[in-house]
């Protein structure tokens, strides 16, 4: 392909950056990671093990392995942040006020942070089998 001389000027100005382009990239990269993470989760927990076989003993056994804790932590971090950012995008379609949009963005961030911390605390702390 012929070199686009417009690229010269673009290189001088550098690629535009900002929260929105960062968020756009995040959705793509986290989406790619979620394919093995989420499908692996569904395959193991819902099909191979089955939801009715999951109890505290099972979770305790599973989290005895550091690898599964890391897996679950990655799933929590990527899936929830991916979903919350998706929700932010959907809401931005409809919110016309700049102030409301900022408030909703912060609210979603706090929701993500609190629930992620609770989930992280559970994964790090583990469960005590009855």
């Amino acid at each position: 392909m012929a070199t686009n001389t417009n690229q010269v000027q673009l290189n001088q100005a550098a690629a535009p950056e900002g929260f929105e382009s960062w968020a756009w990239k995040w959705m793509r990269y986290s989406g790619l990671l979620l394919i093995p993470l989420a499908w692996g989760h569904v395959l193991i927990q819902d099909i191979l093990v089955g939801v009715h076989a999951i109890d505290l003993d099972y979770v305790a056994l599973r989290w005895a392995s550091l690898g599964w804790r890391v897996y679950d932590f990655l799933l929590l971090a990527f899936a929830f942040a991916h979903g919350v950012n998706g929700l932010r995008q959907v809401l931005n379609d409809y919110i016309r006020s700049d102030t409301t949009r900022k408030r909703v963005t912060w609210l979603l961030f706090i929701l993500w942070l609190v629930l992620s911390l609770i989930g992280a605390a559970a994964i790090v702390g583990g469960v005590r089998a009855p």
Binding site: N6, A13, P16, N92, D93, R96
Partner: protein
């Protein structure tokens, strides 16, 4: 064949709210929807208002919703609609001035925000600014836009929030961003790197379906997203 036309009517000087009126018209299968509108205006109800100019799919004046889909009335044949009942409404997302005429100014404001003109402050060469056929081909598709607004007013993101610049404005930004003679690509990409720029596009593809010039609108928007993400125009 007889066609039943159900047309959106609204005269702000007389009507409290819009309503529909139905007209029965004799039509040939090869008639265009614009011909039917002209017949209604000429022989049944002269108060019917709609835009039209060239009537040959070039000026982009007569974009409207025909059986729920945006078309140019001059490019749709009766036989292609595959129904003898045709509902004609103004485009969505722009306020109605009268009947099928919408206020295009918000649409053109977004268009103008993209700097839709060549920007190059370098000393011009003695003759023309040369461009290879390959460089011209890079943005050929987006040069075809006729600013009819069929794409922008078919976009659910634009219906929901008219702060979104819309597909047509992005197509016209694409036309200059990828033009090797232009020098304002970074500036345009910065404008589009906004939540009401390219990121309101959720790749629904309504715009691509609606475009009477068959521009690959969603692809053009995708190329701009990629240019913003990578900083490369290749």
């Amino acid at each position: 064949m007889q066609v039943k036309l159900k047309i959106f009517r609204y005269n702000p000087e007389k009507d409290k709210k819009p309503h529909y009126e139905t007209y029965k018209v004799e039509a040939e299968p090869t008639d265009r929807v614009l011909d039917l509108l002209e017949y209604v205006k000429g022989y049944i109800d002269g108060t019917l208002s709609f835009r039209r100019s060239c009537a040959h799919g070039v000026c982009g004046s007569d974009a409207m919703r025909i059986n729920g889909v945006n078309y140019l009335a001059c490019k749709v044949l009766v036989k292609d609609i595959k129904s003898s009942k045709i509902t004609i409404e103004p485009m969505l997302g722009l306020s109605v001035i009268k009947d099928l005429i919408v206020d295009m100014e918000p649409f053109f404001d977004h268009f103008r925000s993209m700097m839709p003109y060549l920007v190059n402050d370098e000393t011009p060469p003695g003759t023309e600014r040369l461009q290879s056929p390959e460089e011209r081909e890079r943005f050929d598709d987006t040069t075809k836009c006729i600013l009819c607004a069929a794409c922008t007013t078919s976009c659910p993101s634009y219906w929901a929030n008219d702060k979104y610049v819309g597909p047509a404005a992005i197509v016209n930004a694409h036309r200059f961003i990828f033009d090797s003679r232009d020098r304002a690509a970074a500036e345009r990409l910065n404008i589009l790197n906004d939540q009401f720029g390219v990121y309101r596009c959720h790749t629904i593809f309504n715009c691509t379906i609606a475009c009477p010039r068959e521009i690959q609108v969603t692809t053009a928007i995708g190329e701009i997203k990629k240019a913003i993400a990578t900083g490369s125009l290749d």
